[in-house]
């Protein structure tokens, strides 16, 4: 079997609700999306729910090759981007290609990715994540309540700009999740908005009222000493890593014991990169969590990782180009089925409709960094969040 060609389709979708965090609290319901196809001479194709213009530069490395030799392709791509680094557009393309190749490999074997990766238990524990700083208290409650109905006993809430409001909102989440557990697991995420000392002060205040499982990205992604200092001064675990690109970026965190939990995703140089990072974490007795993603395909990989805690589920309605995705949440777990590959099936008609829709505005995500970040707290502007 040989790789013959590829295709990238871009589209926009308006989600069921806006997503936003401490850097963009107003949120936005419009997101830019894309799908990458990698095709073979035997009619089987692999897809990734992402992809960009740089794919063309890397495609020459896999054209005509056997798609099953994934590690070889990954290594060739990593070595190809050597000088400028596994960063930016090249990084995005590399991750997308690797994901599509894993989808393809499993499809060639006629089995779901969880089986190709050797999982013996096709499910993974999940936590609900609002990414909804703009949601009202009632909307926040309803989101977590809906998840609790499905047995989800863990939730992560976006915080960072107003401790008083944040504590109240954590209470809302706690109350909603109490339906699923007497002691729901609560996580907080301030998306690198704080300084080290501010993080310690604020998380300590929150911990006076709530038992926090982990505090995510309390300080900058590369500040391994700062992260360690935070960990040494709070009870909650420090979780970080989602904005790092690859195993090399994790080196300083790991060798300095900067984090207690590593947050991994296929955006860290594909499924191959994710596996590498979870393996080094395993060696260092560090658990990993997986990020949210379109179609929840990270669950396929998570189910085969020996040190995986839980996967983030946002489910804001980003699967508008798909007729099938990993959406079976029961008893707090995402249950995977036997659909070959990532468990996603693209609906070309839906995709065409999305592409021809006239939206006439630009998506606001990804957000830039909010003013005051790491220096002082810039309070909400009037009307920035509807509940303030």
């Amino acid at each position: 079997m040989k790789i013959t060609d590829f295709r990238v389709e871009k589209y926009q979708q308006i989600m069921d609700r806006p997503l936003g965090d401490s850097n963009g609290p107003s949120g936005d319901d419009l997101i830019n999306s894309s799908i990458l196809w990698i095709n073979t001479d035997e009619g089987i194709s692999g897809q990734a729910p992402m992809g960009n213009d740089y794919v063309e530069n890397l495609f020459q490395l896999i054209e005509g090759k056997d798609p099953r030799e994934i590690f070889t392709h990954w290594k060739n791509m990593i070595d190809f981007v050597f000088k400028a680094g596994d960063e930016g557009e090249a990084h995005g393309a590399l991750s997308a290609i690797d994901i599509a190749l894993w989808d393809l490999k499993s499809k060639i074997y006629g089995e779901p990715l969880w089986k190709t990766l050797g999982s013996d238990d096709p499910k993974c524990k999940i936590y609900a994540s609002d990414i909804g700083y703009n949601l009202s208290d009632q909307e926040l409650f309803d989101f977590f309540d809906g998840m609790a109905e499905k047995g989800v006993d863990s939730g992560k809430v976006k915080i960072g700009i107003s401790t008083e409001d944040d504590v109240r909102r954590i209470g809302v989440v706690h109350e909603a999740l109490s339906k699923a557990s007497k002691r729901p697991k609560i996580m907080v995420d301030s998306n690198e908005y704080w300084s080290v000392k501010y993080a310690i002060q604020t998380i300590s205040k929150i911990e006076e009222k709530f038992d926090i499982f982990w505090a995510e990205e309390p300080v900058r992604r590369w500040d391994y000493k700062g992260l360690r200092l935070v960990s040494e001064n709070i009870k909650a675990a420090v979780s970080t890593g989602e904005n790092l690109n690859n195993v090399g970026d994790f080196y300083s965190l790991i060798s300095n014991q900067a984090a207690d939990i590593l947050n991994v995703s296929t955006y860290q140089s594909g499924v191959t990169g994710l596996k590498q990072i979870s393996n080094i974490a395993y060696a260092f007795e560090l658990p990993v969590t997986t990020m949210n993603c379109i179609g929840n395909y990270n669950a396929q990989i998570a189910s085969a990782i020996p040190n995986h805690v839980m996967m983030e589920v946002v489910d804001p309605g980003r699967e508008q180009a798909y007729s099938k995705w990993n959406d079976n949440i029961e008893d707090g777990f995402l249950h995977l089925d036997d659909t070959p590959g990532l468990g996603l099936i693209v609906d070309e008609n839906k995709l065409k409709k999305l592409q021809s829709a006239k939206i006439n505005r630009k998506a606001k995500a990804p957000w830039g960094r909010r003013k005051g970040a790491g220096l002082y707290i810039k309070g909400f502007a009037k009307g920035e969040v509807k509940w303030k």
């Binding site: 030799e69 070889t72 050797g118 999982s119 080196y251 590498q276 393996n279 395993y282 060696a283 007795e285």
Partner: protein, 397 residues
Amino acid sequence: MRIIGLKTTLFEHTLSRTMGDANSPKGRNKAGGCLIEISTDEGITGISMGGAGAIPQINLLYENILKGSDPRNVTGLWKKMVERFFKGGHDGIANDAISVLDVALWDLKSKYYEEPLWKTLGGNSEKVNVYASDIALPISDDQIYKWYSDMSTKFGFNAGKLKVGLDQDSDLKRLQLMYDALKLSGKEPILYVDSNEYWSPKQTIRKVSEMEERFTLGWIEEPARRWDFLGLKKVSNSLKTPVCAGENLDTLGDFLPYFHHRSADIIQVSHGMTGITGALQIADAAYALELPVTLGGSPGIIHAHLANAIPNCITVEVPHPEPESMVFSTDVKITNGFAKVGNKPGLGIEINYDELSKSKVGSVSVKSGPSPYGRRQGAGLYEVPPSKDEIKEARTK
């Protein structure tokens, strides 16, 4: 696909050279093994070799975990096997059992996909760096020279690893012989040395420094005790030669002190460390820490399948370029100084059942194990060179 049966067969065969290291100058002329065969309802059989002393543990894991399972789910089954031995630890004999079963599961997984293991692992069939490894401290200088000459001229090896540790003058002489023999390949020789934990850190520093005056060494292997992460680091800090260690560690967790303290410059990895699943984990961890790995000896050189599927492998150890036993054949060939993987499904190991029935034994004797005499007197304290009797015994084997 479901697992429906397990068969273990012990066998022994004669070695073509007397093998041994600093801990066993008397040497041994036999090797033993255990053939594991896992059968499935699809008619595919997964095979693996090793774990001759771990049959009760192998049976326990089979009965409690593997029976009725889909072998494609190898990562999950690996975790179940590892956690089965939580309290006592999944090292020692438990590790032997897990390792040999994990390899058989990978063989099954690839065979089910009708492809060689290297492809299942995402690697490729490009040639793999290898080195010849005598593991033959007991044989004479002439025999050492002849063995490396054969490796060099018949198989193209330009890299070799000498067992050292008991007699510095002899070791220096043999290093030169190995160099001269490997030079016959037409390429510049690469020399590795291995003292198998016989020296203390300071003994190593003295002896290897002296070797460094005359030779450039690719690495010094196991220059201190396996757990002495500070001693290993001290050796590395004091030598130009890289420190290579890890061979006698069993699990990923065992490597944690090395990783925290950067004790070794090169990490030894093998399928004997909780299987292929474990080997890949260790290689990834080392990769993240910018540490290269080297793969140890393996039956039928099956490690060649892994070499191109991990990002940081320097070279693969080859004690026997062709199987010593007629019991099995391998699809990994050594030519022009490199290993080349073939296209047979799975590990590419095929069993000759006529030969197996001839080599079958009721139990494998201690004398055919890799370390028949335990740790040698004086280890870590002072050197005890081979006695006349020991030499005599070694040469008459």
